[in-house]
């Protein structure tokens, strides 16, 4: 009974971490389908966003922006501004990395790009560590009381509601963008067949820029949300989530953004619920084992197309 009683609460935690994993996964999936490579620096784009937000927030607080919070949330106007600016700056930084490295290596093929992304990953992580140190940094030290929902027997903090709402809104926006805009259509065309897209007059370079805008923007958001949820950030923040993100992407069907969302949720929930049975330290192993099982049963993933 005690085990079963814990399940609803763990589902809540799973949905929260699943939201963050999914936001990261959409970018990985888009990079894979449109640029053709597995981006191992994606986790570090998340950490980059989280640290840029921290830097801007510190700056704004220093400029005298009042530190009042929005109702029950743990942050207010200053942090929200920092949050939004950090997304923009992360996107710019990632596009610069693309111009500097990935664009020049595109002709060398997907494996060289993958290797280059590992170098970018390590460099970014260590730039953050160089600048801020390996120790955790806090967005705020407020202790937020959780709201008890007796009907469901769960507790949830206002910040966590915020995280889930942000994730849902962004997923809907990405869906609308992919479905109803011309650029979204061009992105889907390029994912299907890059050469064909190019001969039909699609500006592939602009598609690539937009891929990074969405991918890096969502990565920065995921990183900042992870910081809000965990209460602290470290340079390893994104790297530590990368395995779960990849597991979610593979589970949902690599290259399919909707699969990444579904897979991310399944991984997030499985990792949390697994703590009933095994040590918390093994969460990444749970993600890994689910991924391997999926590869054995259906390598194209839950929503993958048959090839």
């Amino acid at each position: 009974m005690t085990i079963l009683a814990r399940i609803p609460q763990l589902l809540v935690y799973g949905i929260i971490s699943g939201s963050i994993i999914s936001l990261g996964g959409i970018g990985v999936s888009l990079t894979y389908s449109i640029l053709g490579f597995s981006n191992f620096a994606h986790g570090d784009f998340m950490a980059l966003g989280a640290y840029i937000a921290l830097g801007l927030f510190t700056l704004l607080t220093g400029l005298g922006i009042p530190n009042t919070t929005f109702g029950p949330l743990s942050f207010g106007f200053g942090f929200t501004v920092a949050f939004i600016l950090a997304i923009g700056l992360t996107v710019i930084a990632v596009i610069l990395i693309d111009r500097l490295l990935f664009r020049r290596l595109r002709r060398a093929g997907p494996i060289i790009l993958m290797m280059s992304s590992i170098g970018v990953s390590l460099a970014l992580r260590n730039i953050l560590q160089f600048s801020w140190g390996p120790q955790p940094h806090y967005y705020n030290q407020l202790i937020q009381p959780a709201i008890l929902i007796p009907a469901l027997n769960i507790r949830i903090k206002p910040d966590e509601v915020f995280i889930i709402v942000v994730a849902i809104v962004l997923v809907v926006l990405v869906h609308a963008f992919m479905r109803y805009t011309k650029m979204g259509k061009a992105m889907r065309a390029m994912a299907d067949n890059a050469t064909l897209a190019q001969v039909t007059g699609i500006n592939t370079d602009r598609v690539i820029i937009w891929t990074w805008v969405i991918g890096a923007g969502l990565a920065a958001t995921a990183g900042i949300l992870a910081g809000i949820e965990n209460k602290f950030i470290t340079p390893e923040l994104g790297w530590q989530m990368l395995l779960s993100i990849f597991a979610g992407v593979v589970l949902g069907g690599i290259g399919n953004p909707y699969g990444a969302i579904l897979g991310g949720m399944v991984i997030g929930i499985s990792e949390e619920v697994s703590t009933v049975f095994i040590s918390t330290g093994y969460k990444p192993v749970v993600a890994f084992v689910i991924m391997i099982l999926m590869l054995l049963v259906k390598p194209t993933g839950l929503l993958g197309r048959k090839n």
Binding site: L101, A108, G119, L122, A123, A247, P284, F288, L295, L296
Partner: protein, 339 residues
């Protein structure tokens, strides 16, 4: 003269480490350089080899250790072979679900297995003493060689200081010879292999897997053999490391030292070229050690200097990828027929 001996002793230490990396780079060269298999979980196999060897050849747990298992006190060679076998088995498990798919899946799976191994080593204290690691791993023939050295030095108290310092390090010279011998034997075996018809098939898979399959080769089986062989060599590298360091803990096998630097070594040296793999190991380890001296003169803290060195290695990788992707010693074309 003392100064010179100090440098010489450092060079021995340097060469042992670089040669150990050479073994790991040879393992990666079979997987990536020749077959095109993307393994970014080298650290996992490296750690697994080190722990396996330490448990097979090591002492039973002492009273203050967390573990309750292992320490069979078998000779070094059993530890070395055991490390190779265990790593080979794990590679087999990883290869089975991933080798039929695009190489990205193998890459992701190898990160996963490396992380899994790291977590098992940190959490299963009954086997590994957790974060405390395995200590007092016996070094092969240490007692005989060190004992003889000590007796000699005690019998000759009048030796000049520099000669005394040099002789006191005899064991390190012996270990260097041992590592170089293992490296050389592996090199000879691999050179024969890559020139054999087997080597021709795995390189054909790297160039065009579909075409190779069309010619009737079971590419899955060949890829599996290359993955397992490479992992076994990495296990040997782990064993060689463990018995020299005489101490292993999960922190010894972080992705940077365990995986990333080995990739840079192979790519700099020349993927597909066994000599290149060894050259790359000594070069990159030289650069790494050199930056250690350099960053001491910069006004940064120890952790900042460490980060700076990693950033430099990452930049080195990108520079090679951009301007010299074939490495220092590009792969040579050779006939695969026996002479």
């Amino acid at each position: 003269m003392e100064h010179f001996v100090g440098i010489l002793n450092y060079i021995v230490f340097f060469a042992i480490t670089a040669a150990t990396y050479g073994i790991l780079a040879l393992g990666l060269n079979i997987q990536w350089g020749n077959t095109g298999l993307f393994n970014i979980g080298i650290a996992g196999f490296y750690a697994l080899g080190a722990y396996t060897s330490a448990l097979i050849s090591g002492l039973p747990p002492s009273a203050w250790e967390g573990r309750t298992f292992g320490g069979f006190e078998l000779p070094f060679i059993f530890g070395l072979l055991g490390a190779a076998v265990v790593c080979g088995v794990v590679a087999l498990i990883i290869g089975a679900p991933t080798l039929r798919l695009r190489t990205d899946y193998l890459a992701i799976a190898t990160i996963g297995i490396a992380e899994t191994i790291r977590l098992v080593l940190s959490n299963e204290a009954w086997l590994t003493s957790g974060v405390w690691g395995l200590q007092q791993i016996p070094a092969p023939l240490y007692n005989s060689i060190h004992g003889a050295t000590t007796r000699y030095l005690q019998g000759h108290p009048g030796l000049p200081m520099w000669l005394h310092d040099l002789i006191a390090k005899s064991y390190d010279w012996f270990y260097l010879a041992l590592v170089l011998a293992i490296l050389f034997i592996l090199y000879l075996i691999l050179e024969r292999l890559v020139r054999s018809p087997w080597g021709r098939v795995i390189r054909a898979i790297r160039e065009d897997e579909d075409a190779t399959a069309m010619l009737g080769k079971n590419t899955f089986s060949f890829k599996m053999q290359a993955l397992v062989l490479g992992a076994m060599i990495m296990g040997i590298g782990g064993s060689v490391y463990a018995h020299y360091a005489r101490f292993v803990s999960p922190a010894s096998f972080k992705p940077l030292y365990g995986t990333f630097i080995i990739w840079v070594m192979l790519i700099l040296g020349g993927s597909g070229n066994n000599k290149g793999a060894i050259l790359g190991s000594f070069t990159v380890w030289g650069i790494w050690a050199g930056t250690d001296f350099l960053t001491k003169y910069l006004p940064f803290s120890a952790t900042q200097s460490a980060s700076l060195r990693v950033i430099l290695i990452a930049i080195l990788l990108e520079v090679i990828l951009l301007w010299r992707p074939q490495g220092l010693l590009p792969q040579k074309k050779h006939l695969s027929t026996p002479k």
